[in-house]
Protein backbone atom coordinates (compact mmCIF):
# COMPACT_ATOMS: atom_id res chain seq x y z
CA UNK A 1 0.00 0.00 0.00
CA UNK A 2 1.28 3.47 -0.83
CA UNK A 3 1.93 5.77 2.12
CA UNK A 4 -0.84 8.21 2.96
CA UNK A 5 -1.70 10.64 5.72
CA UNK A 6 -4.82 10.29 7.82
CA UNK A 7 -7.14 12.85 9.33
CA UNK A 8 -10.22 12.63 11.54
CA UNK A 9 -12.89 15.09 10.46
CA UNK A 10 -14.62 16.58 13.49
CA UNK A 11 -17.32 18.40 11.52
CA UNK A 12 -18.90 18.21 8.07
CA UNK A 13 -17.18 21.51 7.31
CA UNK A 14 -13.80 20.01 8.25
CA UNK A 15 -14.41 17.19 5.84
CA UNK A 16 -15.40 19.49 2.99
CA UNK A 17 -12.44 21.80 3.60
CA UNK A 18 -10.02 18.90 3.65
CA UNK A 19 -10.81 18.24 0.02
CA UNK A 20 -11.13 21.83 -1.11
CA UNK A 21 -8.07 21.38 -3.29
CA UNK A 22 -8.96 17.88 -4.38
CA UNK A 23 -8.89 18.89 -8.03
CA UNK A 24 -11.23 18.19 -10.91
CA UNK A 25 -10.73 14.45 -11.26
CA UNK A 26 -13.41 11.97 -10.14
CA UNK A 27 -13.46 11.31 -6.36
CA UNK A 28 -11.99 7.83 -6.84
CA UNK A 29 -8.76 9.25 -8.27
CA UNK A 30 -8.52 12.43 -6.20
CA UNK A 31 -5.57 13.03 -3.86
CA UNK A 32 -7.88 13.41 -0.88
CA UNK A 33 -10.64 10.85 -0.33
CA UNK A 34 -13.20 10.02 2.35
CA UNK A 35 -13.33 6.84 4.35
CA UNK A 36 -16.45 5.64 6.19
CA UNK A 37 -16.72 1.94 7.09
CA UNK A 38 -13.48 1.39 5.23
CA UNK A 39 -14.49 -2.06 4.01
CA UNK A 40 -14.17 -1.10 0.37
CA UNK A 41 -11.56 1.64 0.70
CA UNK A 42 -9.02 -0.28 2.80
CA UNK A 43 -9.36 -3.36 0.58
CA UNK A 44 -8.80 -1.38 -2.64
CA UNK A 45 -5.95 0.62 -1.10
CA UNK A 46 -4.23 -2.59 -0.07
CA UNK A 47 -4.64 -3.84 -3.64
CA UNK A 48 -3.09 -0.61 -4.97
CA UNK A 49 -6.29 0.24 -6.87
CA UNK A 50 -7.31 3.21 -4.69
CA UNK A 51 -4.36 5.52 -4.14
CA UNK A 52 -5.34 8.53 -2.03
CA UNK A 53 -2.45 10.57 -0.60
CA UNK A 54 -4.66 11.74 2.24
CA UNK A 55 -7.63 10.03 3.87
CA UNK A 56 -10.38 11.91 5.66
CA UNK A 57 -12.23 9.77 8.18
CA UNK A 58 -15.83 11.01 8.37
CA UNK A 59 -16.88 8.73 11.26
CA UNK A 60 -16.01 11.17 14.06
CA UNK A 61 -18.45 13.79 12.69
CA UNK A 62 -21.03 14.00 15.47
CA UNK A 63 -24.10 15.18 13.46
CA UNK A 64 -26.87 12.83 14.44
CA UNK A 65 -28.56 13.27 11.05
CA UNK A 66 -25.72 11.22 9.55
CA UNK A 67 -26.58 8.32 11.85
CA UNK A 68 -30.35 8.44 12.06
CA UNK A 69 -33.03 6.28 10.48
CA UNK A 70 -36.16 8.46 10.38
CA UNK A 71 -39.43 6.96 9.15
CA UNK A 72 -42.56 8.98 8.47
CA UNK A 73 -45.90 8.05 6.90
CA UNK A 74 -44.51 8.43 3.42
CA UNK A 75 -40.72 8.31 3.55
CA UNK A 76 -37.65 6.90 5.23
CA UNK A 77 -34.50 9.01 5.54
CA UNK A 78 -31.31 7.07 6.11
CA UNK A 79 -28.19 8.92 7.30
CA UNK A 80 -25.08 8.14 5.25
CA UNK A 81 -23.20 6.78 8.29
CA UNK A 82 -25.98 4.39 9.29
CA UNK A 83 -24.50 0.87 9.13
CA UNK A 84 -25.90 -1.79 6.81
CA UNK A 85 -26.82 -4.02 9.78
CA UNK A 86 -28.91 -1.27 11.39
CA UNK A 87 -31.25 -1.17 8.41
CA UNK A 88 -31.26 -4.96 8.14
CA UNK A 89 -32.43 -5.16 11.78
CA UNK A 90 -34.89 -2.27 11.71
CA UNK A 91 -38.42 -3.57 12.40
CA UNK A 92 -40.15 -0.64 10.69
CA UNK A 93 -38.17 -1.03 7.49
CA UNK A 94 -38.64 -4.80 7.44
CA UNK A 95 -42.36 -4.25 7.68
CA UNK A 96 -42.81 -1.24 5.42
CA UNK A 97 -40.31 -2.24 2.73
CA UNK A 98 -38.84 -5.74 3.05
CA UNK A 99 -36.83 -5.32 -0.15
CA UNK A 100 -34.65 -2.63 1.45
CA UNK A 101 -33.80 -4.77 4.48
CA UNK A 102 -33.36 -7.95 2.43
CA UNK A 103 -30.99 -6.36 -0.07
CA UNK A 104 -28.71 -5.54 2.87
CA UNK A 105 -29.18 -8.77 4.79
CA UNK A 106 -28.15 -10.80 1.74
CA UNK A 107 -24.98 -8.75 1.17
CA UNK A 108 -21.44 -9.51 2.35
CA UNK A 109 -21.20 -10.94 5.90
CA UNK A 110 -22.59 -9.70 9.21
CA UNK A 111 -19.14 -8.50 10.28
CA UNK A 112 -18.87 -6.38 7.15
CA UNK A 113 -22.46 -5.15 7.55
CA UNK A 114 -21.67 -4.03 11.11
CA UNK A 115 -18.83 -1.91 9.73
CA UNK A 116 -20.05 -0.67 6.35
CA UNK A 117 -21.99 2.57 5.98
CA UNK A 118 -24.86 3.12 3.57
CA UNK A 119 -23.03 6.01 1.87
CA UNK A 120 -19.97 3.84 1.29
CA UNK A 121 -22.15 0.95 0.22
CA UNK A 122 -23.74 2.74 -2.71
CA UNK A 123 -20.30 3.96 -3.83
CA UNK A 124 -18.62 0.55 -3.62
CA UNK A 125 -16.38 -0.18 -6.61
CA UNK A 126 -16.67 -3.11 -8.98
CA UNK A 127 -15.27 -6.54 -8.13
CA UNK A 128 -13.99 -7.08 -11.70
CA UNK A 129 -10.98 -9.33 -11.10
CA UNK A 130 -8.88 -7.46 -13.64
CA UNK A 131 -9.71 -4.15 -11.99
CA UNK A 132 -8.62 -5.54 -8.61
CA UNK A 133 -5.32 -6.97 -9.85
CA UNK A 134 -3.12 -4.05 -10.91
CA UNK A 135 -0.94 -6.03 -13.32
CA UNK A 136 -3.80 -6.21 -15.87
CA UNK A 137 -4.78 -3.49 -18.30
CA UNK A 138 -8.00 -1.85 -17.16
CA UNK A 139 -9.64 1.28 -18.52
CA UNK A 140 -11.40 1.95 -15.26
CA UNK A 141 -8.22 1.81 -13.15
CA UNK A 142 -5.75 3.17 -15.73
CA UNK A 143 -7.72 5.08 -18.37
CA UNK A 144 -6.75 4.14 -21.92
CA UNK A 145 -4.86 0.98 -20.97
CA UNK A 146 -7.45 -1.39 -22.43
CA UNK A 147 -9.86 -3.90 -20.90
CA UNK A 148 -8.53 -7.31 -19.94
CA UNK A 149 -12.02 -8.61 -19.23
CA UNK A 150 -13.39 -8.06 -22.71
CA UNK A 151 -11.69 -11.18 -24.10
CA UNK A 152 -10.62 -12.58 -20.75
CA UNK A 153 -12.54 -14.68 -18.25
CA UNK A 154 -15.71 -12.60 -18.01
CA UNK A 155 -18.17 -14.88 -16.25
CA UNK A 156 -18.89 -12.28 -13.53
CA UNK A 157 -19.28 -9.43 -15.96
CA UNK A 158 -22.25 -7.38 -17.04
CA UNK A 159 -24.57 -7.96 -19.98
CA UNK A 160 -26.52 -4.68 -19.67
CA UNK A 161 -25.20 -1.13 -19.87
CA UNK A 162 -21.79 -2.22 -21.14
CA UNK A 163 -19.52 -0.28 -23.49
CA UNK A 164 -16.54 -1.07 -25.68
CA UNK A 165 -14.33 0.28 -22.90
CA UNK A 166 -15.71 -1.59 -19.85
CA UNK A 167 -18.08 -4.41 -18.98
CA UNK A 168 -17.60 -4.40 -15.19
CA UNK A 169 -20.62 -5.27 -13.08
CA UNK A 170 -21.94 -2.95 -10.39
CA UNK A 171 -22.20 -5.48 -7.57
CA UNK A 172 -24.06 -3.62 -4.85
CA UNK A 173 -27.40 -5.06 -3.74
CA UNK A 174 -28.85 -2.17 -1.73
CA UNK A 175 -28.61 0.14 -4.76
CA UNK A 176 -31.10 -2.06 -6.61
CA UNK A 177 -33.74 -1.54 -3.94
CA UNK A 178 -32.97 2.19 -3.98
CA UNK A 179 -33.25 2.63 -7.73
CA UNK A 180 -36.43 0.55 -7.84
CA UNK A 181 -38.06 2.96 -5.38
CA UNK A 182 -36.64 6.03 -7.13
CA UNK A 183 -34.77 7.09 -3.98
CA UNK A 184 -32.88 10.36 -3.75
CA UNK A 185 -29.56 11.32 -2.20
CA UNK A 186 -28.68 14.42 -0.21
CA UNK A 187 -25.24 15.72 -1.01
CA UNK A 188 -23.13 18.43 0.61
CA UNK A 189 -20.25 20.09 -1.24
CA UNK A 190 -18.36 23.39 -1.55
CA UNK A 191 -21.31 24.84 -3.40
CA UNK A 192 -23.79 23.94 -0.66
CA UNK A 193 -26.20 21.08 -0.52
CA UNK A 194 -28.16 19.47 -3.31
CA UNK A 195 -30.56 16.60 -3.65
CA UNK A 196 -30.62 14.34 -6.68
CA UNK A 197 -32.38 11.24 -7.83
CA UNK A 198 -30.36 8.17 -6.92
CA UNK A 199 -30.88 7.07 -10.54
CA UNK A 200 -28.69 9.98 -11.64
CA UNK A 201 -25.79 9.27 -9.27
CA UNK A 202 -24.02 6.50 -11.17
CA UNK A 203 -22.72 6.95 -14.72
CA UNK A 204 -22.72 4.35 -17.46
CA UNK A 205 -19.13 3.43 -18.35
CA UNK A 206 -19.28 4.74 -21.95
CA UNK A 207 -15.80 5.73 -23.03
CA UNK A 208 -14.88 7.07 -19.54
CA UNK A 209 -15.36 4.08 -17.21
CA UNK A 210 -13.07 5.70 -14.62
CA UNK A 211 -15.81 8.26 -13.89
CA UNK A 212 -18.24 6.17 -11.87
CA UNK A 213 -20.57 8.79 -10.43
CA UNK A 214 -21.48 12.43 -10.95
CA UNK A 215 -20.01 13.34 -7.53
CA UNK A 216 -17.16 15.81 -7.23
CA UNK A 217 -14.27 14.97 -4.87
CA UNK A 218 -15.46 17.44 -2.22
CA UNK A 219 -19.03 16.17 -2.17
CA UNK A 220 -20.21 14.12 0.78
CA UNK A 221 -23.32 12.01 0.70
CA UNK A 222 -25.25 13.00 3.80
CA UNK A 223 -28.39 10.91 3.51
CA UNK A 224 -30.58 8.75 1.32
CA UNK A 225 -34.32 9.35 1.18
CA UNK A 226 -36.74 6.69 0.01
CA UNK A 227 -40.45 7.27 -0.41
CA UNK A 228 -42.50 4.43 0.96
CA UNK A 229 -45.92 3.97 -0.60
CA UNK A 230 -48.09 1.51 1.33
CA UNK A 231 -47.58 -1.09 -1.39
CA UNK A 232 -43.79 -1.11 -0.83
CA UNK A 233 -44.68 -3.64 1.87
CA UNK A 234 -45.21 -6.06 -1.03
CA UNK A 235 -41.61 -6.15 -2.12
CA UNK A 236 -38.64 -8.46 -2.02
CA UNK A 237 -35.07 -9.01 -3.10
CA UNK A 238 -34.06 -12.28 -4.73
CA UNK A 239 -30.32 -12.91 -5.06
CA UNK A 240 -28.79 -15.82 -6.96
CA UNK A 241 -25.11 -16.64 -6.41
CA UNK A 242 -22.52 -19.38 -6.65
CA UNK A 243 -22.89 -20.21 -2.97
CA UNK A 244 -25.86 -19.61 -0.76
CA UNK A 245 -24.37 -16.88 1.39
CA UNK A 246 -21.43 -14.43 1.56
CA UNK A 247 -21.11 -14.02 -2.19
CA UNK A 248 -21.87 -11.35 -4.76
CA UNK A 249 -24.85 -11.93 -7.00
CA UNK A 250 -24.71 -13.55 -10.40
CA UNK A 251 -28.22 -12.21 -10.93
CA UNK A 252 -30.68 -10.56 -8.59
CA UNK A 253 -34.00 -8.79 -8.75
CA UNK A 254 -35.57 -6.14 -6.54
CA UNK A 255 -39.32 -6.14 -7.05
CA UNK A 256 -42.19 -4.14 -5.55
CA UNK A 257 -45.78 -4.69 -6.63
CA UNK A 258 -48.92 -2.59 -6.33
CA UNK A 259 -51.69 -5.09 -7.00
CA UNK A 260 -55.40 -4.69 -7.28
CA UNK A 261 -56.66 -8.26 -7.07
CA UNK A 262 -54.44 -9.91 -9.66
CA UNK A 263 -53.91 -6.79 -11.75
CA UNK A 264 -50.66 -4.87 -11.64
CA UNK A 265 -51.39 -1.22 -10.88
CA UNK A 266 -47.75 -0.32 -10.44
CA UNK A 267 -44.53 -2.30 -10.34
CA UNK A 268 -40.89 -1.54 -9.72
CA UNK A 269 -38.10 -3.73 -11.03
CA UNK A 270 -34.34 -3.42 -10.63
CA UNK A 271 -31.73 -5.96 -11.68
CA UNK A 272 -28.46 -6.68 -9.88
CA UNK A 273 -25.39 -8.67 -10.90
CA UNK A 274 -26.06 -8.19 -14.60
CA UNK A 275 -25.48 -4.50 -15.31
CA UNK A 276 -22.69 -1.95 -15.10
CA UNK A 277 -24.71 0.43 -12.90
CA UNK A 278 -27.75 0.07 -10.62
CA UNK A 279 -30.34 -0.98 -13.20
CA UNK A 280 -34.02 -0.17 -13.27
CA UNK A 281 -35.97 -2.13 -15.88
CA UNK A 282 -38.56 0.53 -16.78
CA UNK A 283 -39.71 -1.06 -20.00
CA UNK A 284 -40.37 -4.33 -18.25
CA UNK A 285 -42.37 -2.41 -15.64
CA UNK A 286 -44.46 -0.78 -18.37
CA UNK A 287 -45.13 -4.14 -19.98
CA UNK A 288 -46.68 -5.42 -16.75
CA UNK A 289 -48.80 -2.44 -15.82
CA UNK A 290 -52.51 -3.03 -16.21
CA UNK A 291 -52.00 -6.77 -16.81
CA UNK A 292 -52.74 -9.71 -14.58
CA UNK A 293 -49.58 -11.05 -12.95
CA UNK A 294 -49.03 -14.55 -14.31
CA UNK A 295 -45.99 -16.67 -15.26
CA UNK A 296 -46.71 -15.64 -18.79
CA UNK A 297 -46.82 -11.88 -18.29
CA UNK A 298 -43.83 -12.08 -15.95
CA UNK A 299 -41.84 -14.02 -18.55
CA UNK A 300 -42.78 -11.46 -21.21
CA UNK A 301 -41.53 -8.67 -18.94
CA UNK A 302 -38.29 -10.56 -18.29
CA UNK A 303 -37.74 -10.97 -22.05
CA UNK A 304 -38.12 -7.22 -22.44
CA UNK A 305 -35.79 -6.51 -19.51
CA UNK A 306 -33.00 -8.46 -21.18
CA UNK A 307 -33.75 -7.62 -24.82
CA UNK A 308 -30.75 -5.27 -24.97
CA UNK A 309 -28.34 -7.74 -23.33
CA UNK A 310 -24.87 -8.02 -24.85
CA UNK A 311 -23.23 -11.16 -23.50
CA UNK A 312 -19.55 -11.98 -23.95
CA UNK A 313 -17.86 -15.37 -24.05
CA UNK A 314 -18.41 -16.59 -20.47
CA UNK A 315 -21.38 -14.63 -19.20
CA UNK A 316 -24.12 -15.53 -21.68
CA UNK A 317 -25.73 -17.67 -18.97
CA UNK A 318 -26.61 -14.47 -17.13
CA UNK A 319 -29.26 -13.61 -19.69
CA UNK A 320 -31.30 -16.75 -18.97
CA UNK A 321 -30.45 -16.70 -15.26
CA UNK A 322 -31.40 -13.04 -15.02
CA UNK A 323 -34.77 -13.66 -16.70
CA UNK A 324 -35.61 -16.61 -14.48
CA UNK A 325 -34.54 -14.68 -11.40
CA UNK A 326 -36.88 -11.85 -12.31
CA UNK A 327 -39.82 -14.17 -13.06
CA UNK A 328 -39.37 -15.96 -9.74
CA UNK A 329 -39.04 -12.67 -7.85
CA UNK A 330 -42.23 -11.33 -9.44
CA UNK A 331 -44.19 -14.49 -8.69
CA UNK A 332 -42.86 -14.73 -5.10
CA UNK A 333 -43.60 -11.09 -4.33
CA UNK A 334 -47.01 -11.43 -6.00
CA UNK A 335 -47.86 -14.13 -3.44
CA UNK A 336 -47.04 -11.93 -0.44
CA UNK A 337 -49.91 -11.02 1.86
CA UNK A 338 -49.77 -7.47 3.14
Amino acid sequence: MLPFSYERAETLDDARKAVSDGGEQPPTSAAVQFIAGGTNMSDYMRLGVNRPAHLVDINPIPDSSLRTIAITESEVRLGALVRMSEVEDHPGINQRCPMLAESLKLAASRQIRNMASLGGNILQRTRCEYFRETSWPCNKRDPGSGCAAMDGFNRQHAVLGTSDACIATYHGDFAQALIALDASVEILGQAGSRRMRFAELHRLPGDRPEIETVLRPDEIIVAIAVSLPAWAARSGYLKIRDRQSYAFSLASAAVALDLSEETVRDVRIALGGVATVPWRATEAEEALKGKALTEETATKAAEIAFSGAKPRQHNAFKVELGKQTLVRALMDVGQMRI
Binding site: L2, P3, E7, I35, L47, A108, R110, Q111, I112, M115
Partner: protein, 189 residues
Protein backbone atom coordinates in the same frame (compact mmCIF):
# COMPACT_ATOMS: atom_id res chain seq x y z
CA UNK B 1 1.41 -4.34 33.49
CA UNK B 2 0.31 -0.78 32.87
CA UNK B 3 -1.32 -1.71 29.61
CA UNK B 4 0.17 1.29 27.88
CA UNK B 5 2.79 0.80 25.24
CA UNK B 6 4.02 2.97 22.45
CA UNK B 7 5.07 1.14 19.36
CA UNK B 8 7.68 2.99 17.38
CA UNK B 9 6.66 4.13 13.92
CA UNK B 10 10.26 4.54 12.80
CA UNK B 11 10.86 1.23 11.03
CA UNK B 12 7.68 1.73 8.99
CA UNK B 13 8.52 5.24 7.89
CA UNK B 14 12.02 4.14 6.99
CA UNK B 15 10.57 1.49 4.71
CA UNK B 16 8.24 4.07 3.17
CA UNK B 17 11.18 6.34 2.36
CA UNK B 18 12.35 3.88 -0.32
CA UNK B 19 9.19 4.51 -2.35
CA UNK B 20 8.74 7.35 -4.75
CA UNK B 21 7.39 10.45 -3.06
CA UNK B 22 3.59 10.50 -3.12
CA UNK B 23 2.11 13.79 -4.18
CA UNK B 24 0.35 15.36 -1.23
CA UNK B 25 -2.29 17.98 -1.49
CA UNK B 26 -0.94 21.33 -0.35
CA UNK B 27 -2.37 22.54 2.89
CA UNK B 28 -3.21 19.15 4.33
CA UNK B 29 -1.20 18.65 7.44
CA UNK B 30 0.27 15.44 8.67
CA UNK B 31 2.67 12.75 7.59
CA UNK B 32 2.19 9.03 7.28
CA UNK B 33 2.43 8.53 11.05
CA UNK B 34 -0.58 8.68 13.33
CA UNK B 35 -1.44 8.20 16.98
CA UNK B 36 -4.38 6.23 18.30
CA UNK B 37 -5.68 5.37 21.76
CA UNK B 38 -7.99 2.45 22.39
CA UNK B 39 -8.80 -0.20 24.95
CA UNK B 40 -7.68 -3.72 24.17
CA UNK B 41 -9.37 -6.37 26.28
CA UNK B 42 -10.08 -3.80 28.98
CA UNK B 43 -6.63 -2.20 29.11
CA UNK B 44 -5.88 1.29 27.78
CA UNK B 45 -3.27 1.50 25.05
CA UNK B 46 -1.74 4.21 22.97
CA UNK B 47 0.05 3.53 19.69
CA UNK B 48 2.03 5.60 17.28
CA UNK B 49 1.91 3.83 13.94
CA UNK B 50 2.14 4.23 10.19
CA UNK B 51 -1.31 5.20 8.88
CA UNK B 52 -1.33 2.08 6.70
CA UNK B 53 -1.43 -0.22 9.73
CA UNK B 54 -4.63 -2.25 9.84
CA UNK B 55 -6.27 -2.97 13.16
CA UNK B 56 -5.31 -6.60 12.56
CA UNK B 57 -1.60 -5.81 12.15
CA UNK B 58 -1.75 -3.49 15.14
CA UNK B 59 -3.12 -6.29 17.30
CA UNK B 60 -0.67 -8.88 16.09
CA UNK B 61 2.52 -6.92 15.47
CA UNK B 62 2.27 -3.99 17.87
CA UNK B 63 0.22 -5.27 20.80
CA UNK B 64 1.51 -8.84 20.64
CA UNK B 65 -2.03 -10.26 20.53
CA UNK B 66 -1.43 -12.96 17.94
CA UNK B 67 -4.59 -14.89 18.73
CA UNK B 68 -6.40 -12.92 16.02
CA UNK B 69 -5.51 -14.55 12.70
CA UNK B 70 -4.87 -13.24 9.22
CA UNK B 71 -6.40 -15.48 6.58
CA UNK B 72 -6.94 -13.33 3.51
CA UNK B 73 -6.40 -9.70 4.58
CA UNK B 74 -9.31 -8.74 2.26
CA UNK B 75 -12.50 -9.31 4.23
CA UNK B 76 -13.17 -12.68 2.62
CA UNK B 77 -12.57 -15.24 5.39
CA UNK B 78 -13.48 -13.93 8.86
CA UNK B 79 -10.32 -15.23 10.58
CA UNK B 80 -9.56 -11.71 11.82
CA UNK B 81 -12.95 -11.17 13.51
CA UNK B 82 -12.85 -9.14 16.75
CA UNK B 83 -15.48 -7.29 18.77
CA UNK B 84 -15.44 -3.51 18.38
CA UNK B 85 -17.50 -1.87 21.13
CA UNK B 86 -19.20 -5.25 21.47
CA UNK B 87 -20.01 -5.71 17.77
CA UNK B 88 -18.23 -8.24 15.58
CA UNK B 89 -16.08 -6.66 12.87
CA UNK B 90 -13.20 -7.59 10.59
CA UNK B 91 -9.92 -6.18 11.87
CA UNK B 92 -8.23 -6.51 8.46
CA UNK B 93 -10.64 -4.02 6.85
CA UNK B 94 -10.17 -1.33 9.48
CA UNK B 95 -7.23 1.02 9.70
CA UNK B 96 -5.90 1.06 13.26
CA UNK B 97 -6.22 4.85 13.34
CA UNK B 98 -9.99 4.60 12.81
CA UNK B 99 -10.38 2.91 16.19
CA UNK B 100 -9.69 5.94 18.37
CA UNK B 101 -11.49 5.59 21.71
CA UNK B 102 -12.88 2.16 20.91
CA UNK B 103 -12.94 -0.99 23.01
CA UNK B 104 -11.57 -3.98 21.12
CA UNK B 105 -12.07 -7.52 22.38
CA UNK B 106 -9.93 -10.32 21.01
CA UNK B 107 -9.78 -14.03 21.77
CA UNK B 108 -7.21 -13.27 24.49
CA UNK B 109 -9.80 -11.17 26.34
CA UNK B 110 -12.60 -13.72 26.65
CA UNK B 111 -11.57 -15.94 29.56
CA UNK B 112 -11.77 -14.51 33.08
CA UNK B 113 -8.58 -13.53 34.92
CA UNK B 114 -8.95 -16.77 36.88
CA UNK B 115 -8.84 -18.68 33.59
CA UNK B 116 -12.50 -19.61 33.32
CA UNK B 117 -13.38 -19.95 29.65
CA UNK B 118 -16.14 -17.99 27.95
CA UNK B 119 -19.18 -20.22 27.24
CA UNK B 120 -18.43 -19.95 23.51
CA UNK B 121 -14.86 -21.18 24.03
CA UNK B 122 -16.10 -24.06 26.20
CA UNK B 123 -18.74 -24.97 23.61
CA UNK B 124 -16.11 -25.17 20.86
CA UNK B 125 -14.17 -27.64 23.00
CA UNK B 126 -17.27 -29.63 23.97
CA UNK B 127 -18.35 -30.00 20.34
CA UNK B 128 -14.91 -30.47 18.83
CA UNK B 129 -15.72 -27.51 16.62
CA UNK B 130 -12.30 -27.23 15.01
CA UNK B 131 -9.57 -29.26 13.43
CA UNK B 132 -6.48 -27.17 12.61
CA UNK B 133 -7.83 -24.30 14.73
CA UNK B 134 -6.76 -21.48 12.44
CA UNK B 135 -10.25 -20.08 11.91
CA UNK B 136 -11.28 -20.75 15.52
CA UNK B 137 -10.56 -17.40 17.23
CA UNK B 138 -12.55 -15.66 14.50
CA UNK B 139 -15.35 -18.25 14.72
CA UNK B 140 -15.60 -17.82 18.48
CA UNK B 141 -15.75 -14.02 18.37
CA UNK B 142 -18.23 -14.21 15.49
CA UNK B 143 -20.32 -16.76 17.38
CA UNK B 144 -20.53 -14.39 20.35
CA UNK B 145 -21.66 -11.62 18.00
CA UNK B 146 -24.21 -13.92 16.41
CA UNK B 147 -25.76 -14.79 19.79
CA UNK B 148 -25.75 -11.16 20.96
CA UNK B 149 -27.51 -10.11 17.75
CA UNK B 150 -30.25 -12.64 18.46
CA UNK B 151 -29.50 -14.54 15.25
CA UNK B 152 -28.75 -17.94 16.79
CA UNK B 153 -32.31 -19.21 17.20
CA UNK B 154 -32.10 -22.09 14.75
CA UNK B 155 -29.58 -23.91 12.57
CA UNK B 156 -30.53 -22.05 9.41
CA UNK B 157 -30.03 -18.65 11.05
CA UNK B 158 -26.74 -19.72 12.60
CA UNK B 159 -25.47 -20.95 9.25
CA UNK B 160 -26.51 -17.73 7.51
CA UNK B 161 -25.15 -15.43 10.20
CA UNK B 162 -21.90 -17.37 10.58
CA UNK B 163 -21.32 -17.46 6.81
CA UNK B 164 -18.69 -14.74 7.09
CA UNK B 165 -16.35 -17.20 8.80
CA UNK B 166 -14.88 -19.79 6.49
CA UNK B 167 -13.45 -23.02 7.88
CA UNK B 168 -11.10 -24.76 5.47
CA UNK B 169 -11.31 -27.91 7.63
CA UNK B 170 -15.11 -27.77 7.24
CA UNK B 171 -15.95 -28.14 10.92
CA UNK B 172 -19.24 -26.43 10.12
CA UNK B 173 -21.77 -28.84 11.69
CA UNK B 174 -19.84 -28.82 14.96
CA UNK B 175 -19.54 -25.04 14.87
CA UNK B 176 -23.32 -24.75 14.53
CA UNK B 177 -23.75 -27.11 17.48
CA UNK B 178 -21.26 -25.13 19.56
CA UNK B 179 -22.98 -21.81 18.86
CA UNK B 180 -26.31 -23.36 19.87
CA UNK B 181 -24.92 -24.66 23.16
CA UNK B 182 -23.23 -21.33 23.94
CA UNK B 183 -26.46 -19.48 23.21
CA UNK B 184 -28.18 -21.38 26.02
CA UNK B 185 -25.28 -20.74 28.39
CA UNK B 186 -25.06 -17.07 27.48
CA UNK B 187 -28.81 -16.60 27.90
CA UNK B 188 -28.65 -18.21 31.35
CA UNK B 189 -25.81 -15.92 32.42
Amino acid sequence: MTGTITASAIPFLAAAADRPETARPSGSAGNAGTTVSMRLNGQPYQFSVDARTSLLDLLRDHAGLTGTKKGCDHGQCGACTVLTDGQRTLSCLSFAAMNEGREITTIEGLATAAGELHPMQQAFIDHDAFQCGYCTPGQILSGIGCVKEGRADNDADIREYMSGNLCRCAAYPNIVAAVKQARHEMEKA
